[in-house]
């Protein structure tokens, strides 16, 4: 591959926490230099037109549905949606069919993403066999085969004993154990937050305490084992304090929040539109504000999308029967730029860090999270002025289950570069 020079960029410099006018030179998928001005002849020049150049995003929580539910999404469509949204790497959740609970499924996912993938896929294996919460899956073998983390996502490991072993056992190969914190005995048939608002709607509640109890237990097990714990989709205010305390006492605990818990709350459910049905459920406005503050001050480490594609016919049902989840890969950055940067009091550098630098750090992915000499040539050009309409043509995911469907907004990923390969939109 020959050299490419990106001129006239506003680079989001995550190391120095500022935005700098800069030129970026790449070769063979690697950044050769990023300097205020680079002048070279005989290289391909791409003009950024003064748009932001942002390090490629990393999603620690996505459902690609392959193998098993390819009618919802597959590795090709999911990773194309990712590239379209500025993501260059993502962690695929293991609640597939069959579940990713052994090395052969890990290797299958890696092979498929090599064949058809756009963004890089790092498989997450299950913690327990068949995701049943009873026996440990072959964690080390999966890790050797390429699994980057372990989670029974969609289910909490209800047995404290099994979770303890997972956190303890995974230390010898450095695995990350991801908890989906939900005490199921408190959320039986639940579909929405338990609150005065949802009581009025007659929707069966899932109290935030179901999450708090689970987080508290897992933090205590991390204390006992000194294991590596990551907490998925924190959704409410009360839990932030627990994570803060765990971090203050030196535990190796990190946490994520989804875009939907940052920008929507339970009041969106008044129409019973299942597009807003997610797990954990959308909580109160107060929770939403607290999550944003926790993200700003670093108690919550990263934004992970929980991209959860479902076919139209599945979501076009009454609220109780529709499945949980919404799609994000195509949209997360543009939407969060508008909601958090333009009107939420977060700066662009911070947003970039929680969507790129920090998740790359947590996953120990080399060469991602910054636009600097020696890093991967994986970044995207973001034009904050261009208008997009989120319709069937725009969305690259196979699914369309987002409340933002058919809405328009400003901000567009003009192109994404991944390991030197350019995708233009």
């Amino acid at each position: 591959m020959s050299k490419i020079l990106f001129k006239n960029c506003k680079v989001v410099d995550t190391s120095n926490e500022k935005i700098v006018k800069s030129d970026v030179l790449i070769e063979d998928g690697v950044i050769l230099d990023a300097l205020p001005s680079i002048d070279l002849k005989d290289v391909e020049i791409i003009d950024c037109n003064g748009n932001f150049l942002i390090p490629g995003l990393v999603d620690m929580h996505a459902h690609l549905r392959e193998p098993g539910d390819e009618y919802k999404e597959d590795i090709r469509t999911g990773t194309m949606a990712a590239i379209h949204g500025g993501y260059v790497a993502l962690v695929s959740m293991p609640n597939t069919n069959p579940p990713c609970d052994n090395r052969s499924v890990v290797e299958y996912i890696l092979r498929r993403s090599k064949e058809e993938g756009n963004a890089d896929v790092f498989p997450c294996g299950t913690i327990t066999k068949r995701r049943q919460g009873e026996e440990l899956a072959e964690l080390a073998d999966m890790a050797e085969g390429g699994a980057i983390a372990f989670s029974d996502d969609g289910s909490w490991v209800q047995s404290s004993g099994v979770m303890r072993r997972a956190l303890e056992y995974s230390k010898f190969f450095g695995g990350i154990i991801i908890s989906h914190p939900e005490d199921r005995t408190l959320t039986v048939r639940g579909v929405a937050n338990e609150s005065p608002f949802t009581i009025k709607l007659g929707l069966r509640g899932m109290p935030e305490e179901a999450e708090t109890i689970a987080i508290f237990r897992d933090i205590e097990l991390a204390r006992l084992t000194k294991g590596r714990l990551h907490i998925a989709h924190v959704s409410s205010k009360g839990n932030i304090e627990l994570i803060k305390l765990a971090k203050a006492s030196g535990l190796n605990v990190t946490a994520e929040v989804t875009p939907h818990h940052l920008i929507f709350d339970e009041e969106s459910l008044s129409n019973y539109d299942p597009v807003y049905k997610v797990n954990p459920p959308l909580r109160t406005r107060d929770d939403r504000h607290a999550l944003l503050e926790a993200l700003k001050d670093g108690v919550i480490d990263i934004i992970a999308t929980d991209h959860a594609p479902h076919a139209d016919f599945e979501k076009m049902d009454e609220f109780n029967s529709a499945p949980f989840g919404m799609i994000w890969l195509d949209l997360a950055f543009v939407v969060l730029y508008n909601e958090l940067v333009v009107s939420g009091g977060m700066d662009l550098v911070r947003l970039t860090k929680v969507m790129s630098t920090r998740p790359a750090e947590l996953l120990k992915l080399e060469g991602l999270g910054a636009i600097e000499k020696g890093y991967k040539a994986s970044f995207f050009a973001f034009n904050p002025e261009a208008e997009i309409t989120i319709n069937r043509e725009f969305i690259k995911s196979r699914a369309f289950n987002t409340p933002l469907y058919n809405s328009s907004m400003r901000g567009k990923v003009e192109w994404t570069v991944k390991d030197g390969k350019i995708y233009r939109f």
């Binding site: 039986v188 609150s195 005065p196 009581i199 009025k200 709607l201 007659g202 929707l203 069966r204 129409n271 019973y272 539109d273 299942p274 016919f313 076009m316 049902d317 009454e318 609220f319 109780n320 029967s321």
Partner: protein, 312 residues
């Protein structure tokens, strides 16, 4: 007949109606009610209109009441239920609606086990959607007939002291009654075990009491709700016996209410659980008046919500 009409397409719940709209339905029900006492119980008002009853949950009273109401007004009626329909073959709720809608219906009367099901369907049809009970959300026509029955007995709802006892958490009847009664100026008190009566219900403007003996004092209306035995499996309370002991309406408890207090119940009643059978010896029950008024209220609702030309 009052020439006023409602602007809303659907009747989804009393929470979204204002006082005037509720009163219009009640006034209309009162004027249509006399048809039920004629020798020929039929008027041509909705001739040529089609009412589809879609019941995805078992129902005796509500389904036959809606069916009779439509027939009294000369509408054609069709029934779709879970059993014996394509729903059993796995047809989705939406497809079921769209297929019947394609046969050109004027109103869908929907009973469904899921809260919000009528709201969901209402977005996909131009026909009126009438909520005949959705999950644990609302049962607006039940509350309307309850309120009409109270009006018949007491003249006005304003200032009336109403107690609702039982499984409030899972009760669509309770929710609709709270919304409707509060809008018409009644005072509503709720009672039941705390597992079935979360404090959140205060936010709906009702008082809460976990002591039924206290709560029945000075009440005009005591409405008991059906206790479902399946709640036992989820540990909401330990036994039927214990429920009756602490929350059942017994003669002793009833004697603490106002002398002219009445007993109501949306049915079906578990005699000996939420209501003791022998209290009928002593006090007036309006349970069957409720049922008669049910037909009148549903005639009013169909009349007011079915748009287009109507014969008077």
């Amino acid at each position: 007949m009052d020439s006023q009409s409602l602007t809303k397409k659907d009747l989804l719940g009393l929470n979204e109606l204002d006082r005037e709209e509720i009163e219009l339905i009640l006034d209309t029900a009162r004027s249509l009610r006399e048809i039920l006492y004629r020798p020929i119980k039929k008027v041509p008002t909705l001739r040529g209109k089609t009412v589809v009853n879609m019941f995805f949950e078992p129902s005796t009273r509500t389904q036959s009441s809606f069916d009779l109401a439509a027939k009294r007004l000369s509408a054609d009626t069709v029934s779709v239920s879970t059993r014996g329909s394509a729903v059993q073959k796995g047809e989705s709720l939406l497809d079921t609606l769209l297929n019947i809608d394609a046969m050109k219906a004027d109103a869908f009367v929907i009973r469904h086990w899921a809260s919000g099901a009528p709201h969901f369907l209402a977005r996909y049809t131009k026909a009126a959607v009438i909520n005949a009970g959705d999950g644990t959300h609302e049962h607006p026509t039940q509350a309307l007939l309850d309120i009409l029955t109270m009006q018949d007995r007491f003249g006005s709802i304003e200032g009336l002291d109403v107690l609702i006892v039982g499984d409030i958490l899972h009760s669509r009847v309770a929710r609709s009654n709270i919304f409707g009664l509060k809008k018409l100026g009644a005072k509503v008190t709720l009672s039941g075990p705390p597992t079935l009566l979360p404090e959140y219900f205060q936010d709906l403007g009702a008082d809460i009491s976990y002591d039924v003996d206290e709560a029945v004092k000075d009440k005009d209306v005591i409405m008991a709700l059906r206790i479902q035995k399946e709640r036992l499996e989820e540990a909401y309370f330990p036994s039927i016996r214990e429920y009756r002991k602490f929350f059942g309406i017994t003669i002793e408890r009833l004697r603490k209410a106002k002398e002219n207090a009445v007993i109501m119940h949306p049915g079906p009643v578990n005699w000996g659980v939420e209501l003791d059978f022998d209290l009928l010896q002593e006090r007036e029950s309006l349970i069957l008046n409720q049922v008669t008024n049910g037909v009148a209220v549903r005639m009013a609702v169909l009349y007011l919500f079915i748009k287009g030309e109507k014969e008077s």
